[in-house]
């Protein structure tokens, strides 16, 4: 009847209005060119360092507002490939930027390595399980917390465990026994740090930088170089960025001496130091 026709007509109108919505954001950013908003998607482990870098960058470039989206690198990649409006992508592992390059989101020659990180074992300050060496990670009943196997941390931890199991210093079933002690695969590295700092877990494996962010509540057990991983942090502007020039400037700033000093203060290693 009439009312149904009316509804049909209005549905069409609404659909039309909705379809008109899409191009509007572009028009908005054109109308105010002097106020640039730079959106940086960065790995969760960069939270403190990049927040400081962002503030510094803003003071050096008036009219630029840097906003961050900190999350697991794999989550960030998902969001970017689903069309999230990002200008810069800083990942905690090369594989995610490689995937973005493969998907045509990043130009391959724009990718730079800006920092390195290494794995450490963290223990609560009073070390309730009395862990003194890496081999004790297999001790029965130890409550171990790791980052999600699906994320970059999971891959790095597995690399470390593979190297350890293959070496003479550890039994060949080291990896299996360590995994058997896992009580939780936390979705973020910060989750691992918190569970250990709160003494819910006896040990965790995280990046050195994450351990330093809660240094007063933790003990750190080093992992030797020959077993450790080469965790590199790549950064790149995104092809689709409406502020490509400014995005490139931000990347250069992170690589600059000033940027590197800030990163070093948070425990990151320089990109090419062997």
């Amino acid at each position: 009847m009439i009312s149904r026709k009316v509804m049909g007509f209005l549905t069409a109108v609404v659909a039309l209005l909705l379809s008109q919505c899409a191009p509007q954001p572009a028009a908005r950013s054109n109308s105010a060119p002097q106020q640039v908003e730079l959106t940086v998607f960065a790995a969760g482990s960069l939270t403190e360092a990049f927040t400081e870098l962002g503030t510094l960058f803003e003071t050096q470039h008036p009219g630029v507002k840097v906003t961050f989206n900190f999350a697991n690198s794999s989550t960030l990649l998902q969001q970017i490939s689903q069309g999230a409006p990002a200008d810069v992508f800083a990942s905690a592992a090369a594989s995610f930027v490689d995937k973005a390059v493969a998907q045509g989101l990043i130009a391959p020659d724009h990718v730079r390595i800006f920092a390195r990180n290494r794995l450490v074992v963290i223990l609560p300050k009073d070390n309730p399980a009395n862990v003194q060496s890496l081999s004790q990670l297999t001790q029965p009943g130890l409550k171990l917390v790791l980052g999600a196997k699906e994320g970059p941390m999971g891959t790095y931890v597995e690399e470390f465990l593979n190297k350890a199991s293959a070496s003479q210093a550890f039994p060949p079933d080291f990896k299996e026994k360590v995994y058997a002690n896992v009580v939780s695969y936390e979705s973020t590295v910060k989750g691992v740090v918190n569970k250990v700092a709160l003494k819910e877990a006896d040990a965790g494996i995280v990046f050195l930088t994450d351990a330093q962010s809660a240094a007063d509540k933790l003990q750190i057990l080093a992992i030797p170089d020959n077993l450790n991983v080469a965790a590199v942090y790549p950064i790149a502007p995104l092809k689709a960025s409406p502020n490509l020039a400014m995005a490139e400037k931000f990347v250069q700033f992170v690589l600059s001496e000033e940027g590197q000093t800030v990163l070093a203060r948070y425990g990151f290693l320089p990109p090419n130091d062997d």
């Binding site: 009439i2 009312s3 009316v6 509804m7 209005l10 549905t11 609404v14 697991n72 794999s74 989550t75 998902q78 409550k143 917390v145 999600a148 699906e150 994320g151 896992v182 009580v183 939780s184 695969y185 936390e186 979705s187 989750g191 569970k195 709160l198 003494k199 819910e200 877990a201």
Partner: protein
């Protein structure tokens, strides 16, 4: 007003009929205002199913992680509902009788978990029952360690979801008129008999719908679980956790689990509205 009077006359002229059509057209205009909300809620739900074929769902659900997650969600939510009924029914009865001096305080306390962000619930549980806390240490002496256990999942779900059952049950108890209870008491029924043979049968619909609400909420619990119980496949990784973690590797498994949760919740809520409401209508007719 005048228009309505003219319209109700038996002899309608052509002009009248047209004006009626126009008016009805105008009156139904407001319904267009419902479209944005229906679209806003409907489109994301539909989008989950759009990228899925029954085969993809079926194949994704064969993965051990999905099977473990579904089994764990079913088990923990079932225990949560049972615990809510056993420990929540007396609370609901107390709240409905409104005898307690701290009535409003207790009522608000029970309401609190439903409005708190689940992350707050998770942190609170961790700070209260964690290993380093006094309660946690007492429990550890008894050999009980709650964090990272399936029991912790049930605790997180119960904390967040049990109030839904309690509130629903209290409303159900309140719908039983006090005349009926007094009449039963006059006939010599004791307090337990009144509850068992009068209040419970009359309030059962509210109890059942409360159970279903608690069940759906428990199935969907995420924030408190991931903070208090952690994430270990087979032990604490329920469906919502598997969806969140799985999103990072295998979009299809995450989407399939999401689809199952949506179908489950939709069916539960629909059942609540149709089956239970029909029953109410029947009772009214009788």
């Amino acid at each position: 007003m005048q228009n309505e009077l003219t319209q109700s006359r038996p002899y309608e002229g052509y002009a009248n009929r047209t004006s009626r059509l126009i008016r009805r057209w105008r009156d139904s205009l407001w319904q267009a205002l419902t479209l944005p909300m229906f679209a806003f809620i409907g489109i994301p739900i539909a989008a989950i199913f759009l990228g899925l074929t029954p085969e993809t769902i079926w194949r994704s659900l064969q993965t051990p992680q999905a099977i473990q997650a579904i089994r764990l969600s079913a088990l923990t939510s079932f225990i949560t509902v049972s615990v809510s009924v056993i420990l929540g029914t007396p609370v609901a009865y107390l709240l409905y009788r409104k005898r307690s001096r701290f009535q409003h305080l207790l009522d608000t306390l029970i309401d609190l978990p439903t409005v708190l962000p689940p992350a707050v619930a998770g942190v609170a549980l961790l700070i209260a029952f964690g290993r380093a806390t006094p309660i946690g240490q007492r429990l550890a002496e008894l050999g009980i360690q709650l964090p990272f256990s399936t029991a912790a999942v049930v605790m997180a779900q119960t904390f967040v979801a049990a109030p839904l059952y309690i509130k629903s049950a209290a409303l159900g108890f309140a719908s039983v008129g006090c005349e009926i209870r007094r009449a039963a008491a006059l006939d010599g029924a004791n307090r337990w008999q009144i509850f068992r043979y009068i209040v419970l049968p009359m309030a059962w619909q509210s109890l059942v719908s409360g159970c279903m609400l608690t069940w759906s909420r428990a199935m969907g619990e995420f924030g408190a679980t991931i903070i208090f119980a952690g994430n270990l496949p087979g032990r604490t990784q329920t469906m919502p956790l598997a969806i969140y973690i799985g999103l990072e590797v295998d979009l299809h498994t995450a989407l399939s689990l999401s689809a199952i949760l949506i179908i489950f919740s939709f069916t539960t809520l629909l059942m609540l509205k149709t089956v239970l409401n029909r029953h109410t209508d029947d009772t009214l007719v009788e």
